[in-house]
């Protein structure tokens, strides 16, 4: 391994299982915040949750677009073996540490194959289950609240446009430090 590359998973099978279960729980219960146990040492600006999610889900079959710089791209290519693409529209997973591409620039899948859509992993400053967005839809008994610090301006309108595409659409995984939450395309979002 090159000296500039930090380590990946300590125990690939168990680390990936734990992270997947957190992402599955997050996607099944939109707005519930999950914590990732000790993650890999990823180069900045890649945080522990975003890095762990990518190592858990990305591989040679999933083109990844990211804005995290060459070091993070090299780390990901080495540990996940995924192709890195230049256009967000070609990505299975898009990782945004800064301002994300507009949702309509990502692949939404087709009416017949809506599963062939991108998942946006958006790194934000902070996530908590109080105040902020009001979420309703599948996976939510009544309403979940999710506070997201550092979401891009105009995101709620962009998300409403995405939701209107159903069954096509982008699914979102929000990451902040070791925390993550998800919004599948079915989630209705109102600003709190």
């Amino acid at each position: 391994m090159s000296a500039t590359l930090t380590a990946g998973f300590a125990d690939p099978a168990l680390d990936a299982q734990r992270c997947f279960r957190a992402v599955l729980e997050a996607m099944a219960r939109p707005g519930r915040v999950q914590r990732i146990a000790a993650g890999p040492e990823a180069p900045p600006p890649l945080g522990p949750a975003a890095a762990t999610v990518l190592l858990t889900l990305a591989d040679a079959d999933t083109p990844v677009w990211l804005d995290a710089g060459p070091q993070a791209a090299a780390w990901l290519r080495f540990h996940a073996g995924c192709p890195i693409v230049a256009a967000p529209g070609e990505a299975g997973f898009a990782l945004a540490c800064g301002a994300p591409p507009p949702l309509h620039d990502l692949a939404p899948g087709s009416e017949e194959e809506p599963q062939r859509s991108a998942t946006l992993i958006l790194q934000v400053a902070f996530l908590a289950e109080e105040g902020g967005w009001r979420l309703t839809g599948p996976g939510i008994e009544h309403e979940h609240r999710l506070r997201v610090d550092g979401a891009p301006p105009g995101f709620a309108a962009d998300w409403a446009g995405n939701r209107a595409l159903f069954p096509r659409g982008i699914d979102l995984i929000l990451c902040a430090g070791d925390r993550l939450a998800a919004l599948p395309r079915t989630t209705r979002l109102e600003i709190g």
């Binding site: 168990l14 996607m27 017949e112 599948p138 996976g139 008994e141 159903f166 069954p167």
Partner: protein, 307 residues
Amino acid sequence: MSATQTRSAEGAAAAGGEHRSRGPAGPDAGYNFGYLDENTKRMIRRALLKAVAIPGHQVPFGSREMPLPYGWGTGGIQVTAAVIGPDDTLKVIDQGADDTTNAVSIRRFFARVTGVETTERTAEATIIQTRHRIPETPLHEGQVLVYQVPMPEPLFRLEPSVTETRRMHALADYSLMHVKLYEDIVRHGHIATSYNYPVMVNGRYLMSPSPIPAFDNPKMHRMPALQLFGAGREKRIYAVPPWTEVRSLDFEDHPFEPVRADAACALCGSRESYLDEVVTDDRGGRMFVCSDTDYCHTRQARREAAE
């Protein structure tokens, strides 16, 4: 009572009475955790996440050969293998029973390749893999219900072309199924479908609930647990997120009605549970007993304790 069992691929004999046990000494070192390799798990996990994001939509996946033959729940087993972790407690039922050869084999398989705890108690399980039933005990938020699905396509008897059914799902054009159910009513005076009764998920996708009795359909509606479906031979995965609307198809003047035998369980007295008719001797003696063995045992134990 339960479906006829063929020989066990694991060489496991049916063994009742084990309520809770741990794999002998953690997972067998000869296997990757959960048996499947990491590439396969990742592929299944990605399919599962998309399935949860599009409730009721069938997501294709690259189904793998498993050490159990098709018809033994290889789809459910692959889903469970992609989800399960060392902290899980697994329950496996076959038509409601924990002690059939099929259920015992699958439970032993996971004990061997993961070392997880197994249980027969519905309330203690974090993952329940099932063939053809939903437990009577209401499921809760911390649980995942994994269904073994022989045929995921609800329209397959009405439209054999996969290209056509895919187009119908894309357009949410389910008139074929409505016509079929309406013909049932004209012919029999009621909808003559007592199991594998089609449902609409979140008002959008027509979905096969797998061959559970129609009696179980209402349990799928706004269930607090996550429901995952795996069809191994047909290579499809689908899901119903918690708290999601699941409606059995019906007509205003012929509303859906879950049916059960009009009897009490001969063992525990339940008048609420789904019953199997069991032949008791070779002179034609019969009785009705709960199909859910854990539910029935729990009620019998409570009754004995009260006496």
